[in-house]
C-alpha cells in the first residue's frame, strides 16, 4: 500500500517523523557532558588601579535590548532577551531561554561618572568605569628626616 489515507487527517504527520529522526539529535560529547552547561547571565567585576571593569555574557542581545545606568555608585544593568522560532520555522529543541533581568552592582569605590563606557562585543558586555582620582592608589614619597 502506497498511502494510508488516514495519515492525512493528522497535519503533523510529516513533522512527527522529523521529530523521531531528531531523537538522537544531540550526541553526547566527551568532556562536555562531564563539565556541564554554560551558564546564562554570568557577570564579573574586576578592579584595577585605574578602573572597574564589569563584564556580562549577554548572547543574542543588541544595544537596543539593554540599558546601563549609573547612580550613586550603583551600576544597574537591565535588559530583555527574546528567543523564539524565526518566522515560518517550527521549533524542535529549545534550550536557549528568553529572559528579562535587572541587576545592580554596588561599586566598591567612587568612579568618575563622566568616564564610563559600555560596549557589546560578540555577546559580551564590557562596562569600564574610571575610578575617581581620590579612589586611586597614590605613591607617597618618603623623605629622610
Amino acid at each position: 500500500m502506497l498511502f494510508r489515507f488516514d495519515d492525512f487527517d493528522h497535519p503533523g504527520w510529516l513533522m512527527n517523523d522529523f521529530q523521531q529522526r531528531l531523537q538522537r539529535f544531540f550526541e553526547d560529547y566527551g568532556q562536555a557532558t562531564r563539565s556541564g552547561w554554560s551558564s546564562d547571565g554570568w557577570a564579573d567585576l574586576e578592579e584595577t588601579d585605574e578602573e572597574l571593569v564589569l563584564r556580562a555574557d549577554l548572547p543574542g542581545m543588541s544595544e537596543d535590548d539593554l540599558e546601563v545606568t549609573l547612580q550613586n555608585e550603583v551600576l544597574t544593568l537591565s535588559g530583555q532577551r527574546k528567543v523564539g522560532p524565526p518566522e515560518g520555522y517550527r521549533a524542535h529543541v529549545r534550550e536557549r531561554r528568553p529572559y528579562a533581568f535587572t541587576r545592580s552592582f554596588a561599586l566598591p569605590t567612587a568612579v568618575d561618572p563622566e568616564k564610563v563606557s559600555a560596549k557589546l562585543d560578540h555577546g559580551v558586555l564590557t562596562v569600564r568605569l574610571s575610578k575617581a582620582p581620590e579612589s586611586r592608589p597614590r605613591q607617597i614619597n618618603v623623605t629622610a628626616g
Binding site: E27, S38, L58, V83, H92, E95, H122, G123
Partner: protein, 118 residues
C-alpha cells in the same frame, strides 16, 4: 625539582592553561527548506570557532579566551537527519550567537505534483 629551583636555575615555569569544556545552549528549528541551529557562544570569535561535518555528525567547537589567560571551550555534537544536505551548510556568528543553516536535500523537499486531467 621544585618550581623555585627550576626558576633559580634559569628555567621557565609553564603550566598548562586551565581549560573547561561547556555545553552551549542550542535551539533547533525546522521549515520545509531545512534545519536552523542557534547556539549561544558569548565571547567566541569566528577565528576560534570550528564546525565540522563527518559521517552524519556535525561537531561544533568554540574557544573563548578569558582575561586571566584561561580558556573555555564550548562543544556540542549533533546527529543530523539523513535528509539534510551537509554540503550546503552556512554559518554566521552574530552577537555571540552562532546561526547554522542546513538545507534539506532537494530530493526530500516537499513538492507539489501536478494532477493532469485525462
Amino acid at each position: 625539582m621544585s618550581d623555585k629551583e627550576l626558576q633559580e636555575r634559569g628555567g621557565e615555569v609553564t603550566r598548562p592553561r586551565a581549560i573547561r569544556t561547556l555545553r552551549p545552549h542550542v535551539d533547533a528549528y525546522e521549515n520545509d527548506d531545512g534545519l536552523l541551529l542557534l547556539a549561544d557562544l558569548p565571547g567566541v570569535t569566528s577565528e576560534d570557532l570550528d564546525l565540522e561535518f563527518d559521517n552524519g555528525l556535525l561537531t561544533l567547537t568554540g574557544v573563548r579566551h578569558l582575561r586571566d589567560d584561561t580558556t573555555v571551550e564550548y562543544a556540542r555534537r549533533f546527529n543530523l537527519p539523513r535528509d539534510l544536505d551537509p554540503d550546503g551548510v552556512t554559518a554566521r556568528l552574530e552577537q555571540g550567537v552562532l546561526r547554522v543553516e542546513i538545507p534539506r536535500a532537494e530530493a526530500y523537499k516537499p513538492r507539489r505534483i501536478q494532477v493532469q486531467s485525462a
